[in-house]
Amino acid sequence: MAEGKESRVKKLQEEGWIKQTTIGEPRLSEIVQLYRSLGYEVSLETIKLDELDKECRRCYESEIGEVKTVYVRKKK
């Protein structure tokens, strides 16, 4: 599982994506819109509960499907 995450993150980094934050609504739509207006491409990654630190799981559990990790890269 952690290996899956690591390889996904590595692939994103190789493609030039930079991790910004992990967040849910209503902030998520807001920052996606703002990054796009600043000339960035945005990629949203779904997070998995078993990939989180133990101490964070309790808070993310109830909205795991809604919280995404935001990656950005400058438009070519």
Partner: protein, 292 residues
């Protein structure tokens, strides 16, 4: 009744020496945050009156109360306001706003108004989130970074610790600076875990100021990382409630090696977002009038 140590002062203010009845444009910015609601009444693009209060369970109601309180004693009525912009976590819940604008955008514009065009980096330390923002000389956002969805390292965390240690929230920062030797930071700023860690330290016999120093230090480190990632460029300013906590601000400045511009006496840094929203309201109102 149990004393609420977390409770910060709610207040309103009218800027002296201004006459709104002669104004061409009266606008309002309403910033409904997760913890506090702020309203800034702007007269011809200048701050005229404002209010800062706790956000209640109902965001539209909090927005309404904040505006009405800001107007109190001014003889201005809600109908005298020509354009309203809502911002903040609950900005979509400002039913009477003409438009909603993101708080990142509004904070940058508000900081530019408060401190001037030399501001390039803004740290907004709010109740439930923390944002590092870079802007140009006009207060336009050029880059930003927000903390992860979590109250760790935010104002809510400080409120919880203040209550746990029975220390009034305004004294948390100054008391944390009274330690002779800086303790190791707590290992987590997670509200849930820091609370149990702080309780453990108290049981070990740590005095309150040591526990507060350990917590403020951990928060400063967490926030410094956010700033490091976005890159701090001078002039650097801090907005939001935690900007008043010298225990965090001083430690943060030490870590990043940059001093924030001092707070301006006439502007509470908590209302930067509401001011920015009020300024956008003026632009939008004038544009609508021109287009009509």
């Amino acid at each position: 009744m149990k004393k609420e140590y977390w409770r910060w002062p709610e207040y309103r203010r009218t800027v002296p020496g201004k006459d709104w009845t002669m104004a061409e444009v009266v606008t309002t910015g309403v910033d409904v945050g997760a913890v506090s609601s702020k309203a800034a009444i702007m007269v011809d693009g200048e701050l005229y009156a404002y209010s800062i209060m706790r956000t209640g369970a109902n965001s539209p109601d909090s927005a309404n109360k904040a505006v009405n309180w800001a107007l109190e004693g001014t003889k201005m009525k809600p109908d005298d306001i020509q354009y309203i912009v809502g911002t903040g976590y609950g900005r979509v819940n400002v039913p009477f706003a003409n438009k909603a604008i993101t708080e990142i955008t509004c904070h940058a514009r508000g900081a530019n108004y408060i401190w001037g065009p030399t501001v390039r980096t803004i740290l907004d330390m709010g109740g439930q989130d923390c944002k590092a923002i870079r802007c140009d000389e006009k207060g336009k956002v050029t880059a930003f970074l927000m903390n992860d969805k979590c109250a760790a390292g935010t104002g809510r965390g400080i409120e919880v610790i203040a209550d746990l240690l029975s220390v009034p929230i305004e004294e948390v920062g100054p008391m944390s600076l009274t330690v002779e030797k800086e303790p190791e930071p707590v290992s987590s700023t997670c509200v849930v875990f820091a609370k149990s860690e702080a309780m453990g330290l108290l049981r070990k016999g740590w005095p309150k100021e040591m526990v507060l120093a350990a917590y403020c230090s951990a928060m400063a480190s967490r926030i410094a990382e956010l700033l490091r990632r976005v890159g701090v460029q001078k002039d650097f300013v801090i907005t939001g409630g935690i900007s008043k906590n010298v225990g965090i601000v001083n430690r943060l400045e030490d870590i990043i090696g940059v001093k924030a511009l001092p707070m301006k006496k006439e502007f509470d840094p908590i209302i930067a977002g509401a001011i920015g929203a009020g300024l956008f309201a003026k632009d939008l109102y004038e544009k609508e009038r021109k287009d009509a």
